[in-house]
Symmetry: C2
Subunit: 412 residues, 2 copies
């Protein structure tokens, strides 16, 4: 049964055809979202356990959304239950670093017509290392969020709608042939997306040249715009494979400021958690390892769906960004084939003679091989902001717990 | 002396900073161009020696330019000297496949302010395999050339001028990190160029939305748009290194329908020629090797300047287009370091841990090592049109002749 269940789960995750159809405020499109909800990354925890940048990001979000006038007031309202802190994944969303969704923030709406499910991701905040999702909230961060919400999101939504939606898999497939692994490197995918929406953007220029120019600057201002779309695409693919009775395939990997957690297709919505491991990071100049702080992260949904660390041999230029050698990247990427159920039919790696990316992590294979998933992540600093990038290796304990739960549930 | 001359030539070719500044009819910008001149690829030959697709392309060009009403009349005028057939390189131009420049055809104008020289390349004819430069001239080819000349070239020139010119080296540098080697693969470079000119293009839309849309379709309609720009950039770099007294560095490789030829920095404008070798090609479906026909080609200027076959380890996706394996591509690219004077300071290959591309072919190193330059080329068919792509290995005889000429001139 496990085998056939896994075949089904693998078919779902690798056969997804996610399409971004719109950009709308979270409150209008995310099922269950409410004015007083703040979503953050990783398995949900009691409020007391959030610390550092992830805690700061949630408090900043409360202030940004007008739910509290300062961090202290926000703390009180969270304790009293007036403000609810919840996990992104439980709302069809995925968080980059600390995550952070409030009701009025714009989100990409991504449909997966193959399985009829829908997922969401919020927008890249831009090139500044100081961003709410990296644990910083100040006037500059606030101004930028308002700019995204009032200036960028409305026209981006119009342009995506006028384009009839944009299919994400073909972009991901091509970007894998152009040096991207779609997690720490999104350079080609961002250009390819821009190319898709420019005809609609040019039509916009007649009506409102200023906002079209702003959008153009936003779209071409950094190479990470597309990360949020690949995340939503991976979420849509992974969610479509969730809930397959008997499947031991991982459908989410995420972390909060304490724990790394996984979800498994055949094991319901339980998270299997373990203490966060250290990250092998290459830091920006003038930073050192003592500054590294975990403040959540769900962009590892990309590795869950066969991208990022599972496609790093498609992205040798990553050496410059997150360190490591070509040989090590190849070796790590190859190791992921040991722990996955199959090879993605569309996402392929030129260096491996177009072999499909290793897709669909099997908790049994991880435990039996002792090989854990590797993930390409952005690294945040204690003072907030991004200070580098690196490779995270999942703690094997989550997978051991999941195997135990699987054995208990599906007495073999 | 040879050593210091070669140091100078290498510094010129690798230190060039080509900028495309305009698109104009050849007659208005190419020095020495005249209404009755047709430029074609490779070392110039007596008219009788041109055959097949290259001959057909020249005759088609005469008709296109209104110099003759049919091929027979064109032949007569060429024989009588009324129409002059000359080599692209002698006019600062480079020909793709058969080449083919007439007075009214639009060309990119590329300046290299570092050395104060200028070069030209005409425009990619579009995705159809049937193009004048692949030996085909009919109503469809003619209509397309007129479309390029009347619709695309004027707005492309305006947009490039409004952008203040576009620096080509930074685009090439980035594209090498995105799977391009800039000869048979130009996917990323084309997107990066588009990104540079879109702000100017959006401003155009107010005035003339139709032509802007046409330009957008042209720019994004194929991944080879940028090839003509990388060719002009390589020509500008190579020309800037030509004429260094005592240098044994190659400054051009080109072929006509008979011969493969090279020029050498310290040996004036003489071509050293040898019979064309066979090409190792991967053909489009429903074609076979017996259809392959050489009809000229100067895009090998890119290999001369450290791109194309000299950067193929940056472009593993080429496997699908021109055949070969990853290992063979790596091995061929590495072999080029044996025959070159240095490594390009800006053009680097991620797979080789960002080693600079092998740049500046030394005729002595080729002859002494027995290793010939390899080039990524498009392959034409006997009936005209492109039928595939492949790898051409230069005949060593050209280099032997050049070494003999060098020894004679610079009695050692």
């Amino acid at each position: 049964m496990r085998e056939s269940a896994n075949r089904k789960a693998f078919a779902k995750i690798s056969g997804a055809a996610p399409v971004v159809i719109d950009v709308q405020p979270a409150i209008d499109v995310v099922p269950g979202m409410a004015r007083n909800i703040i979503l953050t990354s990783g398995a949900s925890m009691p409020w007391e356990r959030y610390y550092g940048g992830q805690r700061a990001a949630v408090l900043g979000a409360a202030e940004y959304e007008g739910l509290a006038s300062n961090p202290l007031a926000a703390e009180e309202k969270i304790r009293s239950g007036e403000i609810v802190v919840a996990g992104c994944h439980d709302y069809g969303c995925v968080g980059s670093l600390a995550g952070i969704y409030t009701a009025s923030m714009p989100v990409f709406v991504v449909d997966n017509p193959v399985s009829g499910n829908r997922s969401f991701c919020n927008l890249f905040e831009g090139k500044s290392p100081f961003r709410l999702n990296y644990g910083v909230y100040n006037q500059k961060v606030r101004d930028n969020l308002i700019y995204l919400q009032d200036e960028i999101a409305p026209i981006l939504g119009r342009v995506i709608r006028a384009s009839g939606g944009v299919e994400l898999s073909p972009i991901i497939k091509r970007a894998l042939h152009m040096g991207d692994e779609l997690h720490s490197r999104n350079t080609a995918a961002t250009l390819l997306f821009n190319q898709k929406v420019f005809p609609a953007l040019m039509k916009e220029t007649k009506a409102a040249e200023t906002s079209a120019n702003k959008l153009y600057e936003y779209l071409s201002g950094g190479d990470y715009f597309f990360l949020r779309l690949s995340m939503a695409a991976s979420k849509a693919a992974s969610d479509s494979a969730h809930g397959v009775e008997g499947s031991s395939m991982v459908t989410a990997m995420a972390f909060n400021c304490h724990d790394f957690s996984i979800r498994v297709s055949g094991l319901g919505d339980d998270w299997f958690s373990a203490k966060l491991p250290p990250v092998a990071a290459k830091l920006f100049p003038n930073h050192d390892d003592s500054e590294i702080e975990f403040m959540g992260g769900e962009s590892t949904i990309n590795e869950t769906a066969g991208l990022g660390g599972f496609a790093q041999a498609a992205a040798f230029p990553l050496q410059e960004y997150q360190g490591g050698s070509v040989d090590h990247m190849i070796q790590m990427n190859l190791a992921m084939y040991q722990i996955t159920l199959g090879e993605h039919p569309e996402y392929r790696i030129p260096y491996f003679s177009y072999r499909g990316t290793p897709t669909g992590i099997d908790i049994f294979r991880v435990v039996e091989s002792g090989q854990s998933p590797v993930m390409d992540i952005g690294v945040a600093g204690k003072d907030g902001g991004q200070i580098g990038a690196g490779v995270l290796t999942a703690p094997v304990e989550c997978f051991q717990q999941a195997v135990a739960a699987y054995r208990e549930r599906y007495v073999s």
